[in-house]
């Protein structure tokens, strides 16, 4: 997507978007690492917060209320019932279909490096779990993996998850932040927009709800596909959400953009979102929503009551930090 070159709020240099974000160590967190970094400096208000308070506040700055970016496991830890998450399809990795290689860059090498640095095989983690006891299929994007750009693996995992949700009569929650389509897979990336949205059309035909949570930043192909056709669309306060990034818009149109442009609140005003929800309220809010979106409760209940193994299948998540 041309909009991929957004300016993420926390990294003024767009080139930063393929590097890991400040709040998260470049390496997977090791025991003791938190102790080494005692203070968190807010990228917005520059105030310092003792790291343990910051974590206890769900990484929301207590001074200016900015929700900081989270890695996939932090987000699921904050959201899902402890120990309820089971990951699916974690073994899928990118295949470099274009054999993308320039004088300065090789996609294959970049993939390898990023996998090592992030501990992930790609930018989307998918699986199932529970929120306040309610089962759901869940996909969460991790911006540290090449800006959670949507390539073949992202798309395939999301589609498999939708198909999994249909098969098991589960509602679907997607948590998206993304710089857009992954350029290195060219048109394959564009087609993930068609593929994921088509899978969600099937989910809808099966009368299963899709709730989309947009977190900062969310742009390009991800905004222009599966997220914006969800039954209910939520966003975190202040999250930047759009099709084209502000820099592209300013360069293309010479328009000066208004204060608050493309924030979650801006989108809410323009009718594109259902609600802006604070991080601390998300679990209860999602649970309430899932309760209200239940269709034919008996059928749904049966699907679970009669699969007791399901209960046992919620194993301890592979969640660190």
């Amino acid at each position: 997507m041309s909009s991929g070159n957004l300016v993420p709020k926390n990294s003024p240099d767009p080139a930063q978007r393929f590097k890991s974000e400040k709040p998260f160590p470049a390496q997977p967190p090791k025991p003791g690492l938190d102790e080494e970094i005692l203070w968190h400096k807010c990228p917005v208000c520059k105030e310092l917060t003792f790291i343990k308070h910051f974590a206890r506040n769900l990484k929301v700055c207590p001074h200016c209320n900015t929700p900081n970016r989270l890695r996939w496991n932090e987000r699921l830890n904050y959201l899902l019932d402890p120990g309820s998450f089971v990951e699916l399809n974690s073994d899928l990795v990118g295949a470099d279909p274009l054999q993308f290689q320039t004088r300065t860059e090789s996609y294959a090498r970049k993939l390898q490096d990023t996998r090592r640095k992030t501990g992930l095989n790609d930018g989307l983690v998918s699986g199932y779990g529970r929120v306040r006891g309610q089962p759901l299929a869940v996909a969460v994007a991790d911006f540290t993996f090449m800006g959670a750009s949507m390539g073949s693996v992202f798309g395939e995992k999301l589609v498999r998850l939708a198909e999994f949700a249909i098969k098991n009569r589960l509602p679907l929650l997607t948590i998206s932040n993304s710089g857009g389509a992954r350029m290195h897979e060219g048109l394959f990336s564009l087609m993930q927009m068609a593929k994921t949205t088509a899978a969600l059309a099937k989910l809808g035909q099966a009368q299963l709800p899709h709730i989309a949570l947009l977190v900062d930043p969310c742009y390009g192909g991800v905004t222009a596909s599966y997220t914006m056709v969800a039954d209910v669309i939520l966003a975190e306060p202040g999250a930047l959400i759009g099709f084209a990034g502000p820099r592209v818009i300013e360069q293309t149109t010479r328009q000066s953009l208004p204060q608050g442009f493309q924030t979650a609140e801006f989108l809410l005003d323009h009718g594109m979102l259902d609600q802006v929800v604070e991080r601390k309220n998300l679990p209860s809010h999602l649970a309430d929503l899932l309760g209200l979106l239940k269709v034919k409760p008996l059928t749904f209940k049966q699907a679970f009551d009669f699969t007791p193994a399901f209960q046992k299948s919620f194993v301890a998540p592979e969640v660190g930090n």
Partner: protein, 298 residues
Amino acid sequence: MSTTAIDPVVERVGVITSPLPVAPVPVEDTWQKVKLARHPERPHTHDYISRLFSGYIELHGDRRFGDDQALIGGLACFEGRNVVVMGQQKGKDTRDNIKRNFGMPCAEGYRKALRLFRLGEKFGFPIICFIDTPGAYPGLQSEERGVAQAIAENLLVLAALRVPVIATIIGEGGSGGALAIGLADRVLMLENSIYSVASPEASAAILWHDASLASEAATSMKVAAPQILQMGLIDEVIQEPDGGAHTNPSESAGLLKAALLRNLEELEFETGETNGGIDGLLEKRYWKFRSMGAWQQA
């Protein structure tokens, strides 16, 4: 993955595209294609509509906000059958290009397309789309009115639209702004058209923060029709006259018409009641895009 009573489904997915390596093409060759695809005299959507269809009546407006001149469409007759035809429209000259916003639709353009999709579906008319855009318009108003939402909704609706849909990239096919009318049963490309996840300039800006590396980006991203056919992401490349479509628009229209007709007849045959009907068509359409991707198991 842990053992569970939940059926993981995914084991049954087996028809994934595993594209063969596509041979690299010299940078100059790719850039030549890009220049041809953007040639100012290249026939645009309206040129093909007027040459291929009879009785075209343009319909206007999204019934919500405006009438986007960057995406036109309406009713027409194609070889004896009524169809809905549409496409992004680039301008003939600077003045026309300003009116047409250089073929970059806003939200209301895609919502007009949506209205036309639904009109065709209501009456059982096939949908013929011509793609020719650098991308959806990246502008303030476009964002305010939710161009991303409009594109997404088109994808959702096209994925389940109960009539045959054929899309042809006739010039530039850039980003979601192209795909928004390109989720089709058959996707064709003119020989010198390009199709890419973002325009070459935008891709270079994203990849290397330097739009001047557009030709390198286009080359690395393999945007030319024959390469995309080889990758299995489109169904057919339609030959153009020597030197490109603009050298002989009427010959080019003839070649396009023959390809459209053949594909449409095939789809009509496939949707016959003994051959799976519309439900069969939709299932094939789903798997067509469902299968696009390339990965490996770690």
